[in-house]
């Protein structure tokens, strides 16, 4: 099937799978390495993709994906368009906490080519958290890796009592109410 489905495969024991979708391969690579360097007590598989849909030929070899992180670079409008096009290939039930938007490059506002409102609208329309980070900076890279790792742990069901559905409460903005 062309769409990414959250529950059509069986999970592996003590394992979590993260899919990073974004047009900048170098940034994805760096983030993936930062995540793998973190201390964790379960196995992690990180899949990198430039866009969706994923090639159907290898679908039977792919494990079940627990969290999809869409990477948007604020310096490149193309990355936003790429993500918007890829969102069509994700099944609706993924958007119950198993999708997040990662916006990088926010440290340098003078390079900003993407409007902030557009990104915020994206997060609201798809009911998914939007994380802002600066992957070029070491500290922010490590912090983002830790956040994603924690989210992945929850999405894969390794944290008892907390499910991915609770991420929607993270997004409740007091100013909006």
């Amino acid at each position: 099937m062309a769409e990414l489905q959250p529950y059509n495969k069986l999970p592996a024991l003590s394992c979590a799978v993260l899919l990073l979708v974004g047009s900048d391969g170098g940034l994805q690579q760096r983030l993936a390495e930062a995540i793998l360097r973190e201390k964790k007590n379960f196995k992690i598989n990180i899949h990198l993709a430039a866009s969706l849909p994923l090639p159907p030929e290898r679908d039977h070899l792919r494990p079940r994906i627990d969290l999809v992180a869409f990477m948007i670079d604020i310096k490149s409008k193309y990355s936003l368009k790429n993500v918007e096009a890829s969102l069509a290939y994700v099944d609706d039930s993924f958007f119950l906490g198993k999708v997040c938007f990662l916006v990088t490059g926010v440290g340098r506002v003078n390079y900003c080519s993407v409007e902030m409102n557009a990104i915020r609208n994206l997060g609201e329309v798809y009911c998914s958290p939007v994380l802002f980070c600066e992957l070029e900076v070491e500290g922010s890279q490590v912090a983002t890796a830790q956040r994603l790792l924690r989210m992945l742990e929850i999405c894969a069901g390794h944290v008892p009592g907390v499910s991915a559905l609770s991420f929607s409460s993270l997004m409740r903005n007091c100013a909006d109410d």
Binding site: S76, N110, S113, M116, R120
Partner: protein, 365 residues
């Protein structure tokens, strides 16, 4: 204008006709037919508006969402005297944002000029050589430009000029202008309202001349009026706004081509792509995109830029949206992302200054 102009093979400086666009969203059906109707319609001059504060540069986590009606295109000033502003045109001005000046008074301009020239002489004595070689006698002139303001509440612009005369030449020989800088505030009500008494709001500073003089004059102003200067950079988002706004402005004489310069990141050798568009085609495109004259919203700017990018992609298979827009040149003005501006039309000078003042105020706050 043919619907399918043959593209030149070179990537640099290709002259593109922006008219034949494939993927057009909610615009008129055929561009050729639109072109004819556009020429027939007499476009009225766009009215003033004000950029809302929701400009996306400032805070890393984005600004609160503003209403989408971000207005304005520069209004043509019929009453501006072109001769008085002629010396401001066609020069490259570097932009700075300035915090409000403490206890600055328009009545003491001559005193300020005297103090500044004494300061410059002292700096030269100290050995901070401003120029190696010929000893120059530097004269400072500080004057007021009362016609450069948007509303009556604005402070009149202040012009500082440094001219030099070589001591070897005769006493009445002409002085050469070596540096000029001017402070101005056009429709800066948002800032001047919130500032206490004794403070003068002149948030925009434009400089033309050597960097050494800029730093000397800047440090004198900082010491005397307790203000601070910061380079004003222009983000690609704002540059695309400028491109859209200025394209829509009516120009009397034959306008120069609209040029966009992009810099491609992450390459071992830097690559710059220059995309030139015939001004009438660009204006026709913008006119079909813009729905309400006098108002511009972000979506319209996005559609306009997307049309240009997809046209380029169709011919060269390069996604310009993945590159960084560094320079925009239109018939009215040209702006570079490092904060360098060139005014080309005196009619729209105030309008462009209003936009720049708004950017400077956003940077200060």
């Amino acid at each position: 204008m043919a619907a399918g102009a043959a593209p030149r093979p070179a990537r640099r400086g290709g002259r593109r006709e922006g008219g034949s666009n494939g993927p057009r969203r909610e615009a008129a059906p055929g561009l050729v037919s639109v072109m004819e109707s556009v020429e027939a319609v007499a476009r009225t001059l766009l009215s003033f508006g004000r950029l809302s504060r929701g400009l996306p540069f400032g805070r890393a986590h984005g600004l609160s969402s503003r209403d989408p009606l971000l207005p304005l295109a520069p209004r043509s000033q019929e009453n501006a005297d072109p001769q008085r502003t002629a010396f401001l045109l066609r020069k490259q001005w570097t932009l700075y944002s300035v915090t409000p000046l403490y206890r600055f008074s328009n009545a003491h301009l001559r005193d300020y000029a005297r103090l500044l020239s004494a300061f410059i002489a002292a700096e030269k004595q100290k050995g901070l050589a401003v120029e190696v070689g010929v000893e120059l006698d530097i004269k400072v002139a500080v004057s007021s430009l009362p016609y450069l303001k948007g509303s009556d509440q604005d402070q009149a612009a202040i012009l500082v000029q440094l001219s030099s005369r070589s001591p070897a030449s005769p006493k009445n020989s002409e002085e050469k202008l070596i540096w000029s800088g001017w402070f101005c505030c056009v429709s800066g009500d948002n800032l001047s309202k919130n500032v206490p008494e004794d403070f003068t709001c002149l948030p925009l500073f434009l400089v033309n001349g050597a960097e050494c003089y800029t730093s000397i004059v800047g440090s004198w102003f900082q010491k005397t009026f307790d203000c601070s200067f910061r380079r004003l950079a222009i983000s690609p988002l704002i540059l695309s706004w400028m491109a859209a706004m200025w394209t829509g402005c009516k120009v009397d004489k034959t306008a120069s081509a609209m040029e966009l310069v992009f810099s491609v990141p992450c390459l071992p050798q830097p690559l710059d792509i220059s995309y030139a568009i015939h001004p009438e085609d660009a204006k026709a495109l913008w006119d079909t995109v813009q729905k309400t004259p006098g108002e511009i919203i972000q979506e319209e700017v996005d559609v306009f830029m997307d049309c240009l990018y997809s046209h380029f992609h169709r011919h060269f298979r390069i996604h310009l949206s993945a590159t960084k827009l560094v320079k925009v040149s239109t018939a009215i003005a040209s702006a570079h992302c490092d904060g360098i501006i060139k005014f080309l039309q005196s009619q729209y000078l105030t309008g462009v200054l209003m936009l720049l003042t708004e950017l400077a105020i956003s940077q200060i706050e």
